[in-house]
C-alpha cells in the first residue's frame, strides 16, 4: 500500500521477504516453529501429533527427524533448551515431552504431567535450569531441571482467570511472562520462597496470543485477538519518568499501540534480537514486518513503522513465526495450510 511505501521511504530502507524454502511433511495444520540455539535445526509441530526437525543438506532443506509417539493429541508448541541438546513439546494431551538429542537421534527422556487439560506452550529459561508450561487449566507451572535431566514441579501459579496461551522467559533474568485469554499479560518471579505475580499488563481488549521480548528484555511486544500489536516498556524503581513502582519490582507500561494494520486476529509476534525487526502472523494469511522509527527516539512514546506486508504468505492462517538466532533476517513461518516456510528479509 502507499502508506507502507511512504513509511519505508521515511525509514530509509525498502525491505521485502524472499521465499527460501517450502517444507511439506505435516499432514495437518502447523501450529508452531522454533529454531535451535545454533540456528541449524528448525522444529515444527502441529495437528498431526508429530514434531519435525528440518535442516539443510547441501542447498536443500530436508526433514531430518520425525518425532512421533510422544503425544496422543495435537502438539501445540516446541521449545529448545539453551544448550540445544533438549527439545520440549507441549500437547493438547495435557503433557509436555522432553526429547534428548542422542547419537544422531532424538529420544523422549521424560514426560511432564500435572496440567488438567491442554498444555499450550513450553519454554526454557536462559540458563536452562527452569522450564515453564501453561495450560487451558488457567495455570502456569515452573519446573526445575536438575543436572541429571530430572524434572520437578517447583511452583503452580494460578494468577490468570482464563486459558493461558503462552509463556516466555526474560532473555537474561529469571522472570517469566504469560499471555492469556483473560486479555492480560502477567509477570512472575521467585521472591525467595515461592513464585508470585508481580505485574499485570492490562490494555488488550481480547485474548493475548503471543508476546516477545526485545534483545534487551526492557521491552515487550504483544499481539491479540483485538487486532492490535502493543509495545510495553519496563520502568525500574526510581525511574526519572515518575512511573509508579512497588518495592524492588519494575512496572510495565504500554507505550505504543499499533492498530489498523491487521484486519484479523494476530496469532504470533517475534522480535528479532539480531535485526530488531518485529514480525507478525495474522489470520489474513499475511506476515508483516515492523521496525522502530529512526526519527523518534523517545522511549516513552516510540513509534513503529510497518515496513512490509507479505500478502498470501500462506494460503491459510499464519500461526507461528521464529527468527533464526544466528542468521540475520532468516524467518520461519507455520500455517493452517500444513506448510512450513523459510523466508529471508532482503533490504534494498
Amino acid at each position: 500500500s502507499s502508506a507502507t511505501y511512504l513509511s519505508a521511504i521515511l525509514h530509509g530502507v525498502m525491505i521485502s521477504l524472499q521465499s527460501i524454502a517450502e517444507l511439506e511433511a505435516h499432514s495437518d495444520r502447523v501450529w508452531s516453529v522454533s529454531w535451535n540455539p545454533s540456528g541449524t535445526l528448525l522444529a515444527s509441530c502441529g495437528g498431526d501429533k508429530t514434531v519435525r526437525l528440518w535442516g539443510k543438506e547441501g542447498e536443500n532443506w530436508v526433514c531430518k527427524y520425525r518425532l512421533e509417539d510422544g503425544h496422543q493429541r495435537t502438539v501445540r508448541s516446541v521449545g529448545w533448551s539453551p544448550c540445544g541438546k533438549y527439545l520440549a513439546s507441549a500437547s493438547f494431551d495435557a503433557t509436555t515431552c522432553i526429547w534428548e538429542n542422542k547419537d544422531r537421534d532424538f529420544e523422549c527422556i521424560a514426560t511432564l504431567e500435572g496440567h488438567e487439560n491442554e498444555v499450550k506452550c513450553v519454554t526454557w529459561c536462559s540458563n536452562g535450569s527452569l522450564i515453564a508450561t501453561c495450560s487451558r487449566d488457567k495455570s502456569v507451572w515452573i519446573w526445575e531441571v536438575d543436572e541429571d535431566a530430572e524434572f520437578e514441579c517447583e511452583s503452580v501459579l494460578n494468577a490468570h482467570s482464563q486459558d493461558v496461551k503462552m509463556v516466555l522467559w526474560h532473555p537474561t533474568k529469571e522472570i517469566v511472562a504469560s499471555a492469556s485469554y483473560d486479555n492480560t499479560i502477567k509477570m512472575f518471579k521467585n521472591d525467595g520462597d515461592d513464585w508470585s505475580c508481580f505485574s499485570t499488563l492490562a490494555s488488550h481488549e481480547s485474548t493475548v496470543w503471543a508476546i516477545s521480548f526485545d534483545k534487551t528484555g526492557e521491552r515487550l511486544a504483544s499481539c491479540s485477538d483485538d487486532k492490535t500489536l502493543k509495545i510495553w516498556q519496563e520502568y525500574l524503581p526510581g525511574n526519572t519518568e515518575g512511573v509508579a513502582t512497588v518495592g524492588s519490582d519494575s512496572a510495565w507500561k504500554c507505550v505504543c499501540t499499533l492498530s489498523g494494520q491487521h484486519p484479523r486476529t494476530i496469532y504470533d509476534v517475534k522480535w528479532c534480537s539480531l535485526t530488531d525487526y518485529i514480525a507478525t502472523a495474522c489470520v489474513d494469511n499475511a506476515i508483516r514486518l515492523f521496525k522502530e522509527s529512526d526519527c523518534n527516539t523517545d522511549k516513552n512514546q516510540p513509534s513503529f513503522d510497518l515496513l512490509h506486508t507479505q500478502y498470501q504468505a500462506h494460503t491459510q492462517d499464519v500461526n507461528g513465526l521464529c527468527w533464526n538466532p544466528k542468521i540475520p533476517g532468516l524467518l520461519a513461518s507455520a500455517s493452517d495450510d500444513s506448510i512450513v516456510k523459510i523466508w529471508q528479509v532482503v533490504e534494498k
Binding site: 487439560n117 491442554e118 485469554y181 489470520v283 491459510q316 492462517d317 493452517d336 495450510d337
Partner: protein
Amino acid sequence: MALENENPLVFEAAKDRQITPEEEDDDVVDKIDNREVFDLIRDINDPEHPLSLEELNVVTCSQVHVDDDKNEVSIQFTPTIPHCSMATLIGLSIRVKLLRALPARFKVDVQIYPGTHASEDAVNKQLADKERVAAALENSHLLEVVNQCLTSRKT
C-alpha cells in the same frame, strides 16, 4: 434431562433453491452465495429438539453473509432463548459444518445475533478461538454430539 425450552416456536422451512440455467452451465463459474451457505447449515439438528436450526429460526438466510471474492463467510445465529446453555454447541456445529463443507480459503465467523443471548460476548469469544475449537474437536464425546447435530434427518 428436562428441556430448557419446552414449546419452541416452529417456523416454516424455506423453499428449495431455484436452479437457474446459468448454474447448470458448467462453463460459468458460480461464486458461493448466501443461499448456498444457508443450505449447508439449515438442516443442522437442534441438540435438544427433533427440529432443524431453520425450523427453530436459529438460522435464517438473511443472517448469512458471503463474500466469495474476499473469502469471507459470516453467520449470525439466534438462540431460542436468552439463557440457552446449548448456544456454544449450536455455534460449534455450524462452524464444523462449514469447516468440512467450504473450501479452506474461507474465513468463517460464527456469532450470536446481537442482543439475543445473555452471555453473547463469552460465547462469541469461544467460537472465534480456533485453538479451543480444535481442542474441543479432539474430544471424542463432544465430536460425537456435534456429529449427531450434523447428521441430516432427511436422508
